[in-house]
Amino acid sequence: MKDYDVVGRKKGVSAGHVVAVIVICLFAAFFLFPFYWMITGSFKPMASVTASSLEIFPSTLSTMNWEKLFKYPAFKWLFNSMFTAFGTMVLVCFTSAMAGYSLAKKQYPGREALFWLFVGMMTLPRQVLLVPLFTMVSKWGWLDSFEGLIFPAVGWPFGVFLMKQFSQTLPTELLEAAKIDGCSEFRTFWDIVLPLVKPGMGALAIFTFMTSWNDYFWQLVLIQSTPMKTLPLGVAGLQMEWGTDYGLLMAGGTASSLPMIVVFLAFQKYFTKGITLGAVKG
């Protein structure tokens, strides 16, 4: 970027701008601080966690809290969260990719109405379905199970909407050419459509994973036994049990947010894409 604009005024270094950048950096520190505090807190011995002096940099470190955390089935909780999020992600991606392709590129009566049915339900707060879903799922014996965690989350209209938006950009000529070459419907989808919608599916995959990982409300009502808990739920349980053992809670908090943070930092591009794609107008 040039330092001067066309009429010779200096660009981007006004006092107001400098102040604005400083303010944003302060806010960034404010946002990052809880994470710093949590990670260092997880390594602080009990005494220093509740010490009355202000100690921003820990003076003594210990792994006591982590050892205590793993007296609980924390690895099982981690596995439960991973399995649930991954299962939901795979199912949402495939059903949404197929439905999105169908709604964007296929011709049949009722298509518009069905699309609007999906869109119309998109903003419906899921929690409204809580009681009926809970009674349904308990009648089927799905309480405390992966079926109960995964399947109800697959009926997620946002995924269909996102994939429909994305499939609209597919070149129709290519699909017609495949048909003329005698490609079966399923092969057209599998070999031509899927590779082309991969970036959209990447965005959706990460979004679904995150939503599932953070679906605290549903997990809370569905899961009853300790070994079936997801990681956030397990940590929430520690919170109920050890309300003020902040060292242990910070270890739990670090464990339950770290996987998502790593996924986010690695795939930031797709998160951004998913968010902006989901918000496109029309």
């Binding site: 806010f27 903003t123 409204v128 908090g253």
Partner: protein
């Protein structure tokens, strides 16, 4: 040439087949429970009985002090959080949208971090920060000579303390949306304005603001809807207290369903929440259809 019905069906069938799996899950786990939920809201449905009672759940709720309080609190969460989110995300985005890719992704990531980490994590870290015993906020205040405050336990501060947490959870997505929207504004608009000697305020008022208006409306709507659904931070931090100062509609719904087993009443609350959210969505579609082209 007219095609026979069979031939038409052959053309249509693949479309329906591809839609089927998503439709199956959608009808089974969204449409059907929704209809069922509306039905239940007209019943006196508890662990022991299931009896049609018309609108009595709704008329009961309109007079129920706890529900009215949780409704008021929910609205306070919304009107406290939405302007904060809007102003802050717009400010951050305008300052950083034309910076280097590295700067943009650094701030995008920083402000989105609370939203990606588990909500349980955010809640317990803040619980510790606010804690009257050993919480860092009070330690900092004491080092400046101020009196310690029981942030989450004091009626005067609890709601504000909770709104700050909700704010950190909410700003990530709006910032990403604004950065994208601002990046789409053609550079020559700005150059022409510069040639005309426009001040930064002129440029904001006449170029940026009108062009990002659809994004702004979208952000207002999603932030409003999300604020209406505040639950986890309440359940994990205050349990609705002190004196129902922080209980929300969803928290009250959860309590009446799973602590009192009053499913009919809980469903009625759900219906009320859904109606509010649907009204907001309708307004969304109305405004978004007046689209700005660029």
């Amino acid at each position: 040439m007219k095609k026979s019905f069979q031939a038409k069906m052959r053309d249509w069938l693949p479309g329906y087949m591809f839609l089927l799996p998503a439709m199956f899950f959608f009808i089974l786990f969204v449409v059907y429970p929704m209809i069922k939920g509306i039905t239940i809201s007209f019943y006196d449905y508890t662990a022991t009985k299931y009896e049609f009672t018309g609108f009595s759940n709704f008329t009961y709720l309109l007079k129920d002090e706890n529900f009215i309080k949780s409704m008021q609190n929910t609205i306070l969460f919304v009107i406290g959080n939405v302007p904060l989110v809007l102003i802050f995300s717009l400010f951050v985005s305008i300052v950083i949208y034309n910076k280097s890719e590295f700067t943009r992704s650094f701030f995008r990531a920083t402000f989105y971090l609370p939203a990606v980490s588990s909500i349980v994590t955010i809640s317990i870290v803040w619980k510790w920060i606010y804690s009257p015993r050993g919480g860092i906020l009070n330690k900092i205040m004491e080092s400046f000579g101020a009196q310690p405050i029981n942030w989450l336990g004091d009626e005067r501060y609890a709601l504000t303390a909770m709104i700050i947490i909700l704010f950190t959870l909410s700003v990530g997505q709006p910032i990403i949306l604004y950065i994208a929207a601002l990046g789409n504004i053609p550079k020559d608009y700005i150059e022409v304005a510069d040639l005309d000697g426009a001040t930064p305020w002129d440029k904001f008022k006449n170029i940026y603001w009108p062009l990002i208006l659809p994004t702004t409306l979208y952000i207002v709507i999603i932030t409003t809807i999300n604020s209406f659904q505040t639950f986890a931070i309440v359940q994990l931090l205050t349990g609705g207290g002190p004196f129902y100062r922080t209980s929300t509609i969803l928290f009250t719904l959860y309590k009446s369903a799973f602590e009192l087993q009053n499913y009919g009443l809980a469903s009625a609350m759900g219906v009320i929440l859904a109606v509010i959210v649907v009204i907001i969505s309708v307004i969304q579609y109305k405004y978004l259809s007046t689209d700005v082209e660029y």
